[in-house]
Symmetry: C3
């Protein structure tokens, strides 16, 4: 479900790939998303009129390694899981992409089950036949053996 936009500066395709995996693996581990529940838009800004702006808000020093991660997901995740997500994204962004934790910015926006269509013109989460674990965003997290999948 989560719909993710990642915006970074520069033209390194491998870095952008790594950031996408960092965000996805962190969400699988901490929120409990299925490993194949991945929908991402990855954009590196490097052209004449496409860029990012940032400052040192809250005393956090940022530089051109800054990464903006905007995630849309259903409401219902407890604050503890969101905090775990931020921690893990920062860790994996550093591990996978060399991004310093100070440069990792995350913002979440929530909606509801009926606000998603995953193809075939259906609102899968709002259909009577949807599995219970997909219908309940607050369901316990199942252990994930290998979250670091990549296509």
């Amino acid at each position: 479900m989560p719909f993710v936009r990642i915006d970074a500066l520069g033209a390194d395709r491998d870095r952008l790939d790594a950031l996408g995996r960092a965000v996805h693996d962190a969400m699988v581990e901490t929120i409990g998303f299925p490993p194949d529940d991945r929908f991402q838009v990855l954009v590196g800004h490097q052209g004449a009129v496409s860029t990012l702006r940032y400052d040192d808000y809250l005393g956090v020093h940022r530089d051109d390694g800054v990464v903006y991660i905007a995630i849309t997901l259903r409401s219902g995740r407890p604050p503890e899981r969101k905090k775990a997500l931020y921690r893990r994204v920062a860790e994996l962004a550093q591990e996978y992409a060399g991004t310093e934790p100070r440069n990792v910015f995350v913002v979440l926006t929530e909606n509801e089950s009926v606000d998603w269509s995953f193809g075939h013109g259906l609102a899968q989460y709002a259909e009577p036949t949807v599995p219970a674990d997909l219908a309940d965003p607050a369901a316990p997290i199942e252990p994930v053996s290998s979250p670091a999948e990549e296509s």
Copy 2:
């Protein structure tokens, strides 16, 4: 009102135009938006560091024909209209752009009347003079004779 972002892979301008029309016509038909209520950002990702990621979540097989459609609109649309919207978007994306319904992904995010400014620095939906049908997102849909307008 709706603010729409459409992200697709590839460099076919006509296809992106067709997807924009598919989404707009579907919204006019199923949600009842006025035909001239169109605000869209259309982006084809084809460069070195701008791309989409996807998997076969929920058993839906996707490929590089995948289209991400993110719509911001006011709260208040009943679930039935949202479901009708998904169905119609999938139909028209196929009819106009040749996109297979399995590749059509839609996510909605809601806000309120005061969260919109349509120019001139005004919050048009929150002004006392706004017409009633614009002020009420749950108002009945008026029949639309020719929704397939294009500028």
Copy 3:
């Protein structure tokens, strides 16, 4: 906190910079954001498959000078401040970038304190040590002596 996306047509880097400053200064003045609380994605659409669509909705005549400004911020700002924001954005977009007020489109999306991470893997607004003025979006606006800062 606010996360801002600005989409415009054309390839003028100075214009995009000016629009970014217009939106930021307007938010500092009317909503009371700290001057260094700036997180922006600025995109000029000029390529083969990246563009904007618009019509004359609500009788407002728009042209290729149209600017889409999408702002994510925490809930709690009173309607009066949002209206003041729209007015000031339109004024400053004209003053800084020559954008006509009719071409300035703004849409807000709200979330909560725990939905933000400003680096270091922390949910700064949801930590017990966060300063009170950062924790309360409805707190009175402090006078800002020089909002027109630029990095």
